[in-house]
Symmetry: D2
Subunit: 338 residues, 4 copies
């Protein structure tokens, strides 16, 4: 932490800051510049009291953090890539994960048809929502446990592991019984009670970036899960909210190499939500693979026009099959496999 004093801060003000630094168990190191003095605070930023507090002291201009606020999620402290087990191989190595399926589990026919189709096209896991966060209370909210049972049946038939969302702490034990991976949705990225519960579960987690969250906040959310001893976390870039309205979200493709640089955790991209339009999904998926993603999660529906949710961004099975063929070529061009 570095405390920047005002131009013209008095000796008494500087002394008071130094005294406060010392009181809180740190050491202060004075740097007198031409215009102003800065004070280096020696110790672990993460353990410090809110660094912002020094802002309140007379003569302080502003305070800057030096360290990243996450540690367990950080590559600095864990240089080696984490591989999260999934479907035999694992996510985070040379082979890309391809998670595909409908937004919601709608019916037995629909989910089984989707599961067989994505399996045949090359998917390595099945996605499908039994509990759905919907912005309108009047929209379909998911089939709940009945939906989980249908997912289990789809797994039994196809062998594909299941990725499905859990929305409240109280339901984690139920979802764990059916799911291979617990998905934390974008709206719940900072639902700390939920992060706590999935951390405790020790189950693999797919953590989606909030549409309003920075890369650092995503890593802090991962830190929550990791701090409960659950290291099996996959990060997911799914687009952020910006001023641009031609797509549902703005796909922050930069986040992929940034996350790979800062963290050892695998990074999955969600081109369906990142674009919101099925006709853009293929381009975005190819871009994600080229940028270094460790996998993709893609919405596929046997019949998008009939989908109960997210139809506009869902691929038909044959379009998805084409996408898999195309990303395979791109993957090879960056020394990965599908």
């Amino acid at each position: 932490m570095v405390i920047v004093m005002n131009v013209g801060a008095t000796a008494a003000e500087i002394s008071a800051v130094i005294a406060r630094v010392t009181e809180t168990g740190f050491r202060a190191h004075l740097v007198e510049g031409e215009e102003r003095t800065i004070i280096g605070v020696i110790g672990d930023d993460r353990k410090a009291a809110d660094p912002e507090l020094f802002n309140l002291m007379a003569g302080v201009d502003h305070v800057m953090r030096v360290s990243k606020p996450y540690k367990l999620a950080s590559r600095e402290f864990h240089p080696k890539d984490t591989i999260v087990p999934l479907n035999g191989t694992g996510v985070g190595g040379k082979k890309l994960a391809v998670i595909a399926g409908p937004c919601s589990v709608e019916s037995r026919t629909q989910i089984l048809e989707a599961a067989h189709a994505v399996k045949e096209a090359g998917a390595t896991a099945l996605r499908g929502g039994a509990f759905k966060p919907r912005s309108s209370p009047y929209s379909f909210q998911g089939h709940g446990e009945a939906g989980l049972e249908l997912l289990a049946e789809a797994r039994a038939e196809t062998g594909l592991p299941i990725v499905t969302e859990v929305m409240e702490p109280g339901l984690v034990p139920l979802v764990v019984k059916y799911a291979d991976v617990l998905q934390i949705g974008a709206r719940n990225m900072q639902n700390y009670a939920l992060l706590h519960a999935v951390g405790e579960s020790q189950h693999p987690v797919l953590l989606k970036r909030g549409m309003m969250s920075t890369v650092e906040e995503l890593l802090m959310a991962a830190e929550y899960v990791l701090s409960h001893g659950n290291g099996r976390v996959m990060l997911c870039e799914r687009g952020i909210r910006t001023f641009e309205t031609s797509t549902r979200n703005t796909f922050d493709i930069n986040a992929i190499p940034v996350l790979k640089q800062r963290s050892h955790l695998p990074v999955i991209a969600d081109p369906s939500h990142a674009t919101g339009k099925w006709e853009l999904v293929n381009s975005a998926a190819r871009a994600a693979v080229a940028a270094g993603a460790d996998g993709l999660i893609i919405e596929v529906h046997p019949n998008p026009e009939e989908a109960w949710s997210d139809g506009a961004q869902s691929l038909r099975p044959e379009t998805f099959a084409k996408l898999v063929r195309e990303i395979r070529r791109v993957a090879e061009a960056v020394d990965r496999t599908v």
Copy 2:
């Protein structure tokens, strides 16, 4: 809903869209323009299947909604202002609510001292967090039920009603026992399980806008609570996330008159979070009152330098007292009282 066809859409494509509209229980009304055809869909947009689905049909350029997706929260359907009962008077009428207190309940001394101080300065309710959403798992997370008990004690001593946050559905019954108003924090604005639970509770709710949520999404979140028969909802503008970094958030002052125009629910402003810096809180509070807010929620701490959270944006009691005097003058200038 209006479906805009492509320039050059064929008669067959137009017919197919009309057939689909009819199938889903609506009536189609054709408007043939010079360049292209548009199709008005007659019926309640809110009941329709995802309007985006028509985007998938051949020949469709895009689809535009006509109606607002919320109804119970809408002034269009409920022209008269809602008054939420609080501390005798109620929020939403001529008299402004002034909710004040520390970010977190830290100790008995701290909360009692804060409660007496804000009461004396003119506050009409006490805020204070017993359950704290913190972006770091290593930060103080609140005292939980012990904190609620201290709040109850502060109420007993001062007579001020209590506004405090609830973060998970399972804890709603506990918090209801102590709190006069349940606060839903910005990070939980779209935590639907929680909205459901506070809706069911029939307890007054202070619903904070998500830092990256639109006004419409805030009203949709309110609709969730209202749809459970709980009409006692206060909306809270607390700043949004933008590219600007000189303040913690960007205070969307426009949202105050927009919410008052679109909804009958009272609107509270939170100048502490909206600025993140105590020295800006007074200006922002005056602006909120001048713009038409029905109340303020403000962080006050007996000793901000010692605060366990949000110290940088907390006012000292004497600064808060000055603020109350100043907003009283502004309130009178817009025919309100404090």
Copy 3:
């Protein structure tokens, strides 16, 4: 400037950075922390080579600036408020400036009618565009010099000084002949050739914040003008672009006290562009005055339904007269006058 080294940076890397600091004419000051070393760079940040360059050196994690990049615009170096002369009194003192008039000069009748109406309602200057930046090449681009002549006629009749936009460096001499204040539009805030030209002109300048520019960038744009010896600059907050779509822009009300804190230059608010909807202008104007603005610039048109541009955000003369009465009350509540 502070250079933060990686955890585990080697002594050789640290030495190389220190050598580089010294080479570029600065002094390096080492602070060895528990986890990592940081290096304070002593000297004027503004004179330094791009501080980002150190980022490229082996072992460097990141670089943080200490000083603000502007100096002439800074209150730190010029504590006293600047008063820009306008219409006898001046802008930046106790009395608020009220600049009003139509978006564009459309006709002799229109501008004279508008000028008389705003004068009568209490305006202290007349605005009106002769050169119009329009996002479509097919829209009305302004009457050019003929428009300036009509503005001069309006000034002759009413005595109101003229505020009008200049869009290209080559036209500055022409506009200076007619205008009392040169307005730099939001889209041109970083048109450096234009800033240079208005700086050279020594004419008063109203500098509008770019819709996606930070407060710091606005101050840097002012620094451009000031660096040419022209100190008569008024800053203008006119709303920024965010994800919110219920208003044309998001009025960054926080920017008003932030600018007053960081700079000695007067701050004008533009509630017309900041909201984009006439029915919100009054609330936003009151908020701006309550937050500490030194003046307002407001679009008023004798007949908004017939306006050639910005009709939706223009007030009728009688609505403007009501606004002036209302802001007068708010101004008094914050010890200012209109």
Copy 4:
């Protein structure tokens, strides 16, 4: 254009709107819904008076545009890809353009060294700034015409065509004498006087998206140039400003397929500005190619640590050579060539 009336709009209000539509030369088409009436306005939206005007009429809720505001830039009206001539082949076909070179022309040695290096690595054009838009008036502003002469020398030596920025209308004739492509920088995307001047020049244009501009606004800026009969326009996605701070800008990768879908103009990506960090440029460049970009513009400097500007995002020649090898593989995977 579609005019949406309020719930409960009166017959008189509806009639008044219809009358106004007819007056302005359009035809009105009434659609009576269950809740409210909407009015289709038949005619060319682009020719209409500001559609927002109808918002001012009694009983109108809001107005929605149906058509895109651009026409010459639109693929709807010009389905075939435009190929802009450059270096023999042209941009927009199967072969990707690779424009590379330093941010600024600093010296004869530097620009010649850079030119030879990028040529050898596979670049198809040379970039380099002689006029530099800098956010600080104290930063290096470019060598001006002397810089252009050095670029011409580099072209003479290497055969690479020159892409260089022009910042003011008065300098277009000068820059045209030296440059093969006139670059319009992000800050000038809505500098209409400049767009007019480069339109008139009939010279090829590289139009960079403003960091605050939507895809639609970029296409409107292109429309300005096209409307002067200059069809040789390349669009450039270079990152937008968002709340994310881990990179200099957020690379809007979605914009590439969106622009290709909406427009016939070639799309260039600028991974240097889109990331702001040299170590992310390679990932972003691969992603751009995979997403369908027609070319890249990349900052390369013989010695980034010594660069006078943008050093942190500039590649060394050998890193650039590696990038070209890698994007060649990705290009082949999407059936393009480098």
